[in-house]
Amino acid sequence: MLALAALAILFFALPLVGLLWRAPWSNAWGYLTDDNALTALRLSLICSLWATALSVLFGVPLAWVLARVSFPGRGAVRALCTLSMVLPPVVGGLALFFALGRRGLVGQWLYRWFDLQLPFTTAGVVVAQTFVAMPFLVITVEAALRQLDGRAEDASRTLGASRWYTFRRVTLPAIRPALAAGAVLAWARALGEFGATITFAGNFPGTTQTMPLAVYLARETNPEQAIVLALLLIAISFGVLVSLRDRWFGRGAAGRHSVLA
C-alpha cells in the first residue's frame, strides 16, 4: 500500500521537479518581466477576474434556483449547467463559436444589431473562461445552500423580510465561506483556461493571448521562458489549493453551514 501511494505521490511530484530542474533560474526574472510575458500576465489577470465576477453574478442565483426551487427537469438543468466541467474545453470553445460567432445562432444578431463581436476579442476570452469556470462556483454554492437549514430563511420571512432581504442578510452570510471557495476555484480554473479560449478567441498577443496560451507558444520559440511562465502558473494554482485546504477539502466543506444558534 505504502509503496503504491509513494509511487502516486512521485507521479505528481516528478513533473514539477522536472520543471524546477530545467528552470533557467539566472534569467527567470528577465523572462517574467519581458513585454510578452507581462502582457499575457496582465490579460490573464483581467480576464480571469472578469470571468470570476460574472460567475458569481450569474452562478449564485443559478445555484439558489437549483437548491431551493423544485421544478421538473431540475436534474437535467443541473447537468447542462455543469457540463463544461467534464467537456473537453476545445469542444466547449467550438460550441461557443457556433452560438456566439459572427455567423452563430445568437452571434449574428449581436453583430447585426449591436455591432458586437465576441470571437477573437478580449470579451471572447472572458466568455470562454466564464463558460468553463462558472460550474465550479455553482456546485460549491449549491452544496452549501442544500446544507443550510432552510428554517432560518423561514424565520426571516416571518419577521417581515422579503426573499431578497432574507438572501442578503441570512443566506449569504451563511454560505460566505463556500462562496469564497467557489469563487477562488472558478478563478483558478479561468486563469488556467486554454482549450476553449484558443478555439473561441484565438491567440493574439495583447487581446486574447493569456498566460497558458503564451506558455504553449513559447514552448516552440523560447522553451526557457515557457518553463518560467509554467512555474508561475503552478505556483498560483498551488497557492489556491493550499489556501482552500480547509474550506474545500476539509471540515469546512463537509460540515454543516449554519446561521442558527
Binding site: R151, A152, A155, R157, V170, S258, L260, A261
Partner: protein, 351 residues
C-alpha cells in the same frame, strides 16, 4: 377582529382539515400527539405552507384563500413566530436579532436598535445585547426569540413548542417567565405543544388535534372532563369507549355491549375510570346492572401501591387495583381475567 382559519392541506401522510378561531387577547393551545399536524397548522397560519383549500383571515383580512387566489406572503402578515429551537441568527448579536424585523421593515438602524434594546430590557436580557446567541442559555434564547417576534408588534403570535427544547430542570422557571411575558401581549396567540402542563399553565383554551383533525376544543378542564379522543383519554388516564346507545346499552364499533345506567340514544362516548373496574377470575352470574368482559392481561404497570393492568378483549381497558389484590390473585401477563364494571360507574355523553 380575530384569527379565523379553515385549513385544508395534504402534506406527505398528513391530511390536515382543521378549523380554528382565536379571539383577541386569547391564547389557544394546540395540543396533540407527535405527527398530528400541529406545527403544520402554524406554518399555514404564518404563510410558510400555503393551504390547498380553505381560508385564513387575520382581523378580517384574508391572507390565504386558494379559491380566490388570495395569498399574502409571510413577510406581509401581521404575525410573529417563536420557533421550536428559536432559530436565532448566529452571525448577528442578540440585539441585531431582536432588531431584525424592524430593520427588514426599513426602519432606521438607530430606531430599530432603540426599540430592540427596550424589548431586551423587558425580557430581562439587557446585559446580553452585544452577545452572540450561542452565549445564551436555553431559557434566555427563548426570551430573545420572543422579543424578536414581538418587536414588530404583530397581531398574532405563534409559538411552536416553546418549552420543548429545554431540559426538565429549567422548564418550570422558563414556563413561569413565559407566562408573565405572554400576559403583556394583547394580540391573539396560538401555541403548539404536546405537553398538557404547558397548556394548563399558559392557555385560555385548548384545541385537541389528532391526525390532522381538531377533535375537541374548550378549556382544559372541559376537554379533560369529557374526553372525545383516545389521546385525551390517555392524557387523563381513563378508558374511552365510543359507540351507539340504544335501550340502555352502548354498542361499540367492535360489537361489544356496554350496559349503562341512563343515556339518550345516539352516538356517544363512555368513560370508564380504571379504579372503578373490578377484576375477578371467575365470572359471577346474575347481576344485570354489571358489565363483565373477559380480557387477556397485556401489561402490568406499578404506580406506588397500585397497579395498572392493560386488558385486551372485546372492550380494551386499563384497570387499576391494589398491589395486595394483585398478589392475592397472582395475576401475570397472558392470564385471562374478567373485568366487572357497574353500569352506574360509567359516564356517558353524546359524541
Amino acid at each position: 377582529m380575530s384569527l379565523a382559519a379553515t385549513l385544508q392541506l395534504q402534506l406527505g401522510s398528513l391530511d390536515l382539515q382543521a378549523e380554528l378561531d382565536v379571539r383577541p387577547g386569547e391564547l389557544l393551545a394546540l395540543l396533540g400527539p407527535n405527527g398530528a399536524g400541529k406545527s403544520t397548522v402554524l406554518r399555514c397560519l404564518a404563510g410558510l405552507a400555503p393551504i390547498t383549500a380553505g381560508r385564513i383571515a387575520i382581523d378580517d383580512i384574508v391572507v390565504d384563500e386558494p379559491a380566490t387566489h388570495s395569498f399574502v406572503e409571510p413577510e406581509h402578515r401581521s404575525i410573529g413566530v417563536v420557533f421550536q429551537d428559536y432559530l436565532l441568527f448566529e452571525h448577528m448579536t442578540v440585539l441585531e436579532n431582536v432588531a431584525y424585523g424592524l430593520r427588514a421593515r426599513r426602519q432606521p438602524k438607530a430606531t430599530a436598535h432603540r426599540v430592540a434594546r427596550e424589548w431586551m430590557e423587558r425580557v430581562g436580557l439587557g446585559e446580553y445585547c452585544d452577545q452572540r446567541p450561542r452565549a445564551l442559555s436555553g431559557g434566555q434564547a427563548q426570551r430573545a426569540a420572543l422579543a424578536r417576534a414581538l418587536a414588530t408588534s404583530p397581531r398574532v403570535l405563534l409559538l411552536d413548542e416553546p418549552l420543548a427544547a429545554l431540559d426538565a430542570g429549567t422548564r418550570a422557571g422558563v414556563r413561569r417567565d413565559l407566562r408573565r411575558h405572554l400576559q403583556s401581549f394583547d394580540g391573539m396567540r396560538v401555541m403548539v405543544t404536546h405537553d398538557p402542563v404547558d397548556a394548563y399553565a399558559l392557555a385560555d383554551r385548548v384545541a385537541i388535534l389528532d391526525e390532522g383533525r381538531i377533535v375537541q376544543t374548550g378549556t382544559l378542564a372541559e376537554v379533560t372532563s369529557h374526553p372525545r379522543s383516545r389521546y385525551v383519554a390517555d392524557l387523563v388516564g381513563v378508558n374511552l369507549v365510543a359507540g351507539t346507545v340504544l335501550d340502555g346499552v352502548l354498542h361499540t364499533d367492535t360489537g361489544a355491549r356496554v350496559v349503562i345506567a341512563d343515556a339518550a340514544p345516539g352516538a356517544s362516548f363512555a368513560v370508564i375510570r380504571p379504579h372503578s373496574i373490578l377484576l375477578v377470575q371467575h365470572p359471577a352470574d346474575g347481576a344485570s346492572a354489571r358489565n363483565q368482559w373477559p380480557g387477556v392481561i397485556t401489561e402490568l404497570d406499578r404506580l406506588g401501591d397500585r397497579v395498572r393492568i392493560g386488558l385486551d378483549g372485546a372492550v380494551p381497558l386499563t384497570a387499576e387495583i391494589t398491589i395486595a389484590a394483585l398478589d392475592a390473585m397472582e395475576l401475570r401477563p397472558g392470564d385471562t381475567v374478567h373485568a366487572s364494571v357497574k353500569a352506574t360507574d360509567i359516564e356517558v355523553y353524546p359524541a
